[in-house]
Amino acid sequence: MSGKRVALALALLALLTAPFWVGGVYYVNIVSQILIYAVFAMGVNILLGYAGLVSLGHAGLFGIAAYATAIALSAGLPHSAAILVALIATVAGTAVFAVLALRATGIGFIMITLALGQIIWGLAYRWISLTRGDNGVNVVARPEILGLSLASAEAFYYATLAVFLLAVAVCAIFVASPFGASLKGVRDQPRRMNALGYHVWGIRFCACLFSGLLTGIAGILFVYYTQFISPQSLSLTSSAEVVLMVISGGSGTLLGPLAGAALVVVIKNVASAYIERWNMLLGAIFVAIVIFMPEGLVPGTTRLVRRLFKGRAARAAEDARP
């Protein structure tokens, strides 16, 4: 346990000092991007990891938040009001999403969220008078917090880090709470939970709302980070990318999304410098992970390392365990 604490403290220290050792504005921005996607992936992880519901429409919710912020700002609202409007719009959108998608679970849920995500993409793409279509919407300036401008990469990084740490803390509390326990119960044994008197649908609905809130926060951070939003960010590829982050990092773990986001963002930025075929690589990683390491990279690697260090007898014991 203490080893884990030391590791966490070191990770926190590394994140806090990141702008000083990553070497350059470009890399600070990459780390900011990792943190933004980590918050997004945490939102998806609430459903995927703790509720057992795979959503392929979350980029739509992410897009609602980003577009709402950008459109509210260009309508002349101050930053605080725009952020509030965006959060309300995202949670309201998530509620509609959830009411429709929770008519089903399993494959049905996946297909309905995929279709809903595509609707929002279609609206962003076609509703030109509101979203300006393919041209996207610009955000002129980043906000100031307590008089400090977030215009520089470092300042924005620390603001993102603060939001990220807050989100991790809230997720940790959420997962450890009685509600988190009942959510895991609903994931594993919906019928039994129903028989015990839990409102299965209501629990799933609340999890959706929480997931949507985190996704919305990520969307707002993203639109301030790039200062631009276009339908591209709402595509099915984006939804799939974030699901890949969660699964590759390890779904149902608190820090898996961070690992997954780091993996995907780094590969994407590094690989795209050398090869053009990023989507091919993404698809291949998807297929390989599902087939060879279905539990995710972090738990999968831990298991492999453990097996490597244990003797043969211990390995046999591990195999015998169900």
Binding site: R103, I107, G122, R126, A240, G283, I291
Partner: protein, 287 residues
């Protein structure tokens, strides 16, 4: 008046294409419980293959369409045999693998055929318009409708009148019981997957003169197939047929009348069906 009629003809044409696409999707989903998210990619792959056959090798259009269908069917068979077979029963993994393959196919097409849209000429003999009374119809669109009707009838005969069809229906209804009475359900899976993939590939080439072939065709078609299947009910042939025509009409009329909200109009019936009849218009309740 003629605008409305033209829209109606276009709607029925799109409905026919969607039927070819979604019938396979629906059968695969109904029989194997696999949400085959590569289906849009198979459509696009068929269109690219067919276009290459016609443009580079100067094959006749219909031969190219059939060859494209066969190639895509073989590709589908490989996916089923070597990847999906290993993931039986694990829906989440199937979704991710089919999605991963669809990304790879999309990138492969971009690499081979570049990002420029390819237009395919309407097959000679079907160019121009037919005059029926005072009305004018584009012949190629009428031909697509006719082919869709013929294939719908053939599929119905296959499923309803042959031994293979009876086995497939048994597999859809109760795979375990079908196995018990000696039906090799795993071989049915491969057959149905190849059939569905082949129909999608063939439809891709048939749609090419109208839709043209471009990157992103897969992502345009997949949601339409999904909506058709949610609307009609998974595993139901009449469901796919009715769903396809509803979507065909909504898509064309939505585009013409409410261009900005066309996508929204398209998904409205899906929402209504989900709320009022979650198993789809022709589907049976899923236990």
């Amino acid at each position: 008046m003629s605008l409305w009629l033209l829209l109606a003809v276009n709607s029925v044409t799109l409905g026919g294409l969607l039927f070819l696409l979604s019938a396979g999707f629906s059968l695969i989903f109904g029989l194997m419980r696999i949400p085959n998210l590569t289906h849009g990619s198979l459509f696009m792959l068929g269109a690219y293959f067919g276009a290459s056959f016609v443009i580079r090798y100067h094959l006749p259009f219909w031969l190219a369409a059939i060859l494209a269908g066969l190639l895509v069917a073989a590709f589908g068979g490989l996916i089923e045999r070597f990847l999906l077979r290993r993931l039986a029963g694990s829906e989440q993994a199937q979704v991710l693998v089919t999605l991963g393959i669809s990304f790879m196919v999309a990138d492969f097409c971009l690499m081979v055929w570049t990002g420029d849209p390819i237009s395919v000429a309407t097959p000679p003999g079907l160019v121009g318009a037919a005059h029926i009374g005072a009305l004018i119809f584009p012949i190629y669109r009428l031909a697509i409708i006719a082919i869709a009707v013929v294939i719908a009838a053939a599929l119905w005969l296959l499923l309803d009148r042959t031994r293979l069809g009876a086995m497939i229906r048994a597999g859809v209804d109760d795979p375990q019981m079908a196995r018990v009475v000696g039906i090799r359900v795993s071989r049915l899976f491969t057959i149905v997957f190849c059939l569905g993939a082949g129909l999608a590939g063939f439809a891709g080439m048939m749609g090419a003169p109208i839709l043209s072939v471009y990157p992103g065709l897969d992502a345009d078609m997949l949601p339409l197939a999904l909506v058709v299947v949610i609307l009609g009910g998974a595993g139901s042939l009449p469901g796919s047929l009715v769903g396809s025509f509803i979507i065909g009409f909504l898509y064309n009329f939505g585009q013409a009348l409410l261009p900005e909200l066309a996508y929204f109009v398209l998904f409205l019936p899906m929402v209504l069906v989900l709320v009022l009849r979650p198993q789809g218009l022709f589907g049976r309740p899923v236990t």
